[in-house]
Subunit: 139 residues, 2 copies
DNA sequence: GTAAGTGCAAATCGTTTGCAATTTC
DNA sequence: GAAATTGCAAACGATTTGCACTTAC
């Protein structure tokens, strides 16, 4: 999982400038353990440095996405949500009641996915699995 | 799988008026075997009756979605795509090269999904599984 | 005839962009 | 000092909505 200093190195390697804004946004992302949307990321960043505009947050997120240091999600509400890219792909359970998002991995499902597309002559390059759930009522 | 006459009956049952526009849009949906976006649905509908506005297409799709006769998808491009609701849930393989969408079902994956959320005390109310693929190169 | 449904154009929401001003290197 | 990056506000694309007009019942 990339951290702020990893991002700094990446910027350097790519000839990108390590601005105050990028540093702050990287740290905000590294500190988050939820899946904030852009407005929330802007709020958290602006709390550290009020000069950061939302346009820069959008631009920086797009940049980080291209560098593959963040992953963009769409959980059915309109706006995009972000998290630091994980080396292992993981999927999400969305609790429709509380809005809480739980991460999980399941090797067997991954294996089945590979098999399905391979049998059709394809190569799996990405996948998205989201389970929308509600708390189970006891009887 | 609902067809036009089923939709007519549903409108009747719910006290909704069966307008020319709804009739046309229902037929366009029933005739489609792809996953058209709103603009495309509007184009197909307007070809039948040019009086149909895009606002009505949006309103009708929202209505049909509430009635559970259509399913709305988001395949990673921006706009929403629609298809008639199927009684069996199915998932999608998206060929990133051609944009083609292939439907599939896999009982074993469904079973694993149920198990995952049950073990966490949840009930699965919906899920989304999308496999993004590219044609496999031979070696 | 009346309430539901429509078309139109304006509004909204999330996101992107042109440009002049500001930084980082 | 030059090129990259920023902030601002305007532009954008998909979708929604207010309102006067139309239509199904």
């Amino acid at each position: 999982m990339p951290d702020s200093s990893y991002i700094a190195k990446l910027c350097y390697d790519k000839g990108l400038r390590l601005t105050e804004q990028r540093r702050v946004i990287a740290k905000v992302l590294a500190d988050a353990n939820d899946h904030p949307d852009v407005e929330e990321l802007h709020a958290r960043s602006a709390a550290v440095d009020s000069r950061i505009s939302i346009a820069t947050v959008y631009r920086t997120l797009r940049l980080f996405e291209e560098l593959e240091v963040v992953t963009k999600h769409d959980f059915g509400d309109q706006r995009a949500r972000y998290e630091l890219a994980d080396s292992e792909h993981h999927d999400h359970i969305i609790d429709l009641k509380s809005g809480k998002v739980i991460e999980f991995e399941n090797e067997e499902i991954e294996r089945l996915q590979e098999k399905i597309v391979n049998d059709l002559g394809y190569e799996l390059v990405d996948h998205k699995l989201e389970l929308y759930v509600l708390p189970r009522k006891k009887k």
